[in-house]
Amino acid sequence: MTSLADTPLVRPGIGQGLKDVFRRRYLLKLLVRKEIKLRYRGSVLGVLWSYVKPAIQFVVFYIAMGVFLGLNRDVGNYAVYLFSGIVLINFFTEALNNAAKSIVYNSGLIKKIFLPRELFPVASVFVSAAHFFPQLVVLLVGCFLTGWRPTPLGLAAGFAGFLVLAMLSVGLGLFFSSVNVYFRDSENFVEMMLMVATWVSPVMYQWHMVHERLGDFWFGVYQANPVTVAVELFHYAFWSTTAGGDAALAAPPQLFELWLPVALVVSAAVLALGQFTFRKLEIKFAQEL
């Protein structure tokens, strides 16, 4: 019993932000596992569904867009081009939507037991990453069927693209989940923002179309969006070696030298802002929820 006298008196409820999430990573793991379990509860095919759905989507893209609409003529192997951007946007959309709602959704717990509240938005991003995995598998199958060759730089680009969006999701997730406690409008705002995200990034079209119409300066602004850079990195990783003659257009100039560092810095800044806002607002979560 003497040992207790040696431990210091501390103020409860004052956490260390994301550091605490790392410290409580076992709990994080259980929270992520819980969400995944609940999602497949009571379904016969279970996890298989998350492979079937994107596979069907890919086949539809291939036939309807590539063959019927003839988009393969303009963009070589359009199905892989489109799909590689879409899976990434799917991840971002799900991660941010769920992260933004996570604090209000878990209010029952937050009001009663003290734990690092950052766990909830971070767990949402991890859950979305788990759902992203089957889509990645389908993408890779599509890639191999259309003559993809993995390269070290390509794989690094894919990893970097995912990392940029994961950081951005956590940062924006922290920001909007805490604001959402005070103004429930922020959920709707996030949904609107995500709807726009698909169109302000080269998912359906190609980056050089933007460059031709906007000129250098505005194209620079367009490129400052980390989502855009992440999509371009994915195109580089998964599509460029399957595109035939269009491969030269796979990535804008200086993607690795300039735009990737810019995207990392912007995402890190958003993460810092998200953490700062969250810590300011979390003090009153329990009474406002």
Binding site: L4, A5, L9, G13, L27, K34, L38, L109
Partner: protein, 248 residues
Amino acid sequence: MSEQSPITVEIKGISKQFVLRHTRSIKEALIWFLKGRKGDLSAKFHALRDVSMEIRQGETVALLGFNGSGKSTLLKHISGVMTPDEGTVRTRGRVAGLIEVGAGFHPDLSGRDNVYLNAAILGMSEAQIKERFDSIVEFAEIGEFIDTEVRFYSSGMYLRLAFSVAVHSDPEVFLVDEILAVGDEPFQKKCLDKIQELVDAGQTLVVVSHDLDLVQRVCSRGILLEHGRVVKDGPSHEVVEFLRARTK
């Protein structure tokens, strides 16, 4: 429980005001702002007012008072769920407990999954949970139902499992809010015995209960709150008498 025992909960002059917010949308807040911030977008009241106390290791403290007097709010300040507007709360060692039965339980998960999740929420490590799992299930008398989804549990089973997890998390300071009265007689006795055992081993106990007989049995010290203020702090039988006299 001598003067030499270390302080486990130190509360110095804390006050807490709650805002009764009438609006939750940006639109309404904006209109209010544009109209020159007139009227009450929010009315405030004190849930705790200049509350101070020191609780030492091994003490058994009951928070008493009518509904709305601030007992749960005070417990939430000790656990860290809430932070005071003024004053400071400091605690020593791990603080955990049952503010509400089954907070953190998910009805669609099995008892087993819920034990793991809840124990981790209360701050237990993976190794500790594995080590204490059998003991948790045994104490809760759940038996073979441990792999059944919790939504099929009776309310008694639910309570027993929640209490068992909390009690096995073995914190230095254990908080209990109005749950001791929920279970049936034998289980209640078992819980009280377990609590006594933990207190004997040096745990600090802070409970909220309306059952005044039970309070006198379990707690040596009583603290009476009224409208967020401490109006009496002393041996539990005296405070209970005082409260009874007041109610008449």
